[in-house]
């Protein structure tokens, strides 16, 4: 079953891992879920770091797009997209096929994530 009006990312939201890392792409009987948002409010928007529970392990990730409509002129994606990240900010995967919003450049030092991204919106 799917929840109805899906908004930004908070605890227990199911997310979609978008890079080509092994942890994100191997099938598992439970979808990856957010368990903590590193934010003053518990609501994660584009550019926030979150903690995911994938395959029984904890992993940090970066939000690159969500279903919630943001400010005008910014893209809104049809799924909550997330890129797996290490503690020092290095991405785990080597390629990101899905489009990444340009707004992410404003949010923090994610130059390594942009280096592996292919498409931008």
């Amino acid at each position: 079953s799917i929840t109805g009006a899906c908004r930004a990312i908070q605890k227990l939201t199911r997310v979609r891992v978008v890079d080509n890392s092994a942890l994100g792409n191997t099938p598992y009987h439970r979808p990856p879920k957010c368990i903590h948002v590193y934010n003053k409010t518990g609501v994660g928007k584009v550019g926030d770091k979150i903690l995911l529970a994938i395959k029984g392990e904890k992993k940090k990730a970066l939000i690159v797009g969500h279903k919630m409509p943001g400010p005008t002129m910014t893209p809104r994606f049809d799924s909550n997209n997330v890129v797996l990240i290490e503690d020092n900010g290095n991405p785990t995967g080597t390629r990101i096929k899905t489009p990444i919003p340009y707004i992410l450049r404003q949010k923090g030092e994610f130059s390594k994530v942009f280096a592996i991204a292919r498409n931008f919106v």
């Binding site: 005008t72 002129m73 893209p75 498409n119 919106v121």
Partner: protein, 246 residues
């Protein structure tokens, strides 16, 4: 020109040239953008007049083409974080909302199996160009159901060439019936409240009849909801066309 009979033929004057006055034809087809029409309410018309002046000012500098819901547009915006400081997005217009300077339109496209929608403001100074790539109206005013339709109906090539079109022709209506993903959908599109004609419902007859339970047939006869905009439109059209001609 060989004469078939021996007798000389009667002099036939050449056919009169048909003068197509393009000016007149363009004036006959007038399109007033829906954001110029003020909403019904008790606000002072002076506010709308001042807003219209600003909108005309912007339109004189930057050309906003005539477009409806269902057209495929390419919008280039100025973006400080993009590579060449410009960002080009191609998509189908699914909704036009807002009145006055805050008028918006939402473009949708599916890139690399990911559906992306961007809500652009028509009068935002960051927009550098709006090109209409394909003109076609659809059966509905609001194509939000494309989110629950199969992704092939929302995919459009980013490098699409603009389809040429004659000036004075009517905008063609595409009577496409879209096939949907299996239920559940984000909204119950089969209900008469949305009045959608562009979906090919493959639901059983019992479900369609059950949806008609929510119909409100008295709504179209409700006189308090009537908003006749014909006189307003004429006045505003004169104002806008005079403002743009200067």
């Amino acid at each position: 020109r060989a004469i078939s009979d021996g007798k000389p033929e009667k002099f036939q004057p050449p056919p009169k040239p048909v003068i197509i006055d393009k000016q007149k034809q363009r004036e006959e087809r007038r399109f007033l953008s829906p954001e110029f029409i003020p909403p019904r309410g008790r606000t002072d018309p002076l506010k709308f007049y001042i807003e219209r002046k600003d909108m005309i000012q912007r339109r004189r500098v930057f050309n906003i083409p005539e477009f409806y819901v269902g057209h495929i547009l390419a919008v280039t915006t100025a973006d400080p974080y993009a590579n060449e400081k410009t960002n080009r997005f191609v998509g189908i217009c699914i909704q036009r909302g807002g009145k006055g300077l805050g008028a918006t339109f939402v473009l949708r496209n599916v890139i690399e199996d990911q559906g992306v929608e961007i809500c652009y403001e028509l009068y935002n100074p960051r927009i550098q160009a709006i090109e209409v790539l394909k003109l076609e109206k659809r059966l509905d005013d609001n194509l939000m159901y494309l989110r629950d339709a199969l992704p092939e109906y929302s995919t459009f090539d980013v490098n699409m060439k603009p389809v040429s079109r004659l000036e004075h022709e009517e905008v063609p209506v595409n009577k496409l019936q879209v096939r949907m993903k299996p239920k559940p959908w984000s909204k119950r599109w089969e209900r008469p409240k949305y009045n959608i004609k562009g979906i090919k419902f493959e639901l059983p007859e019992s479900k369609m009849k059950a949806a008609q339970k929510w119909s409100q047939p008295w709504l179209e006869f409700d006189m308090m909801r009537e908003y006749d905009t014909s006189k307003l439109e004429d006045k505003i059209w004169k104002e806008v066309s005079d403002g743009l001609k200067k």
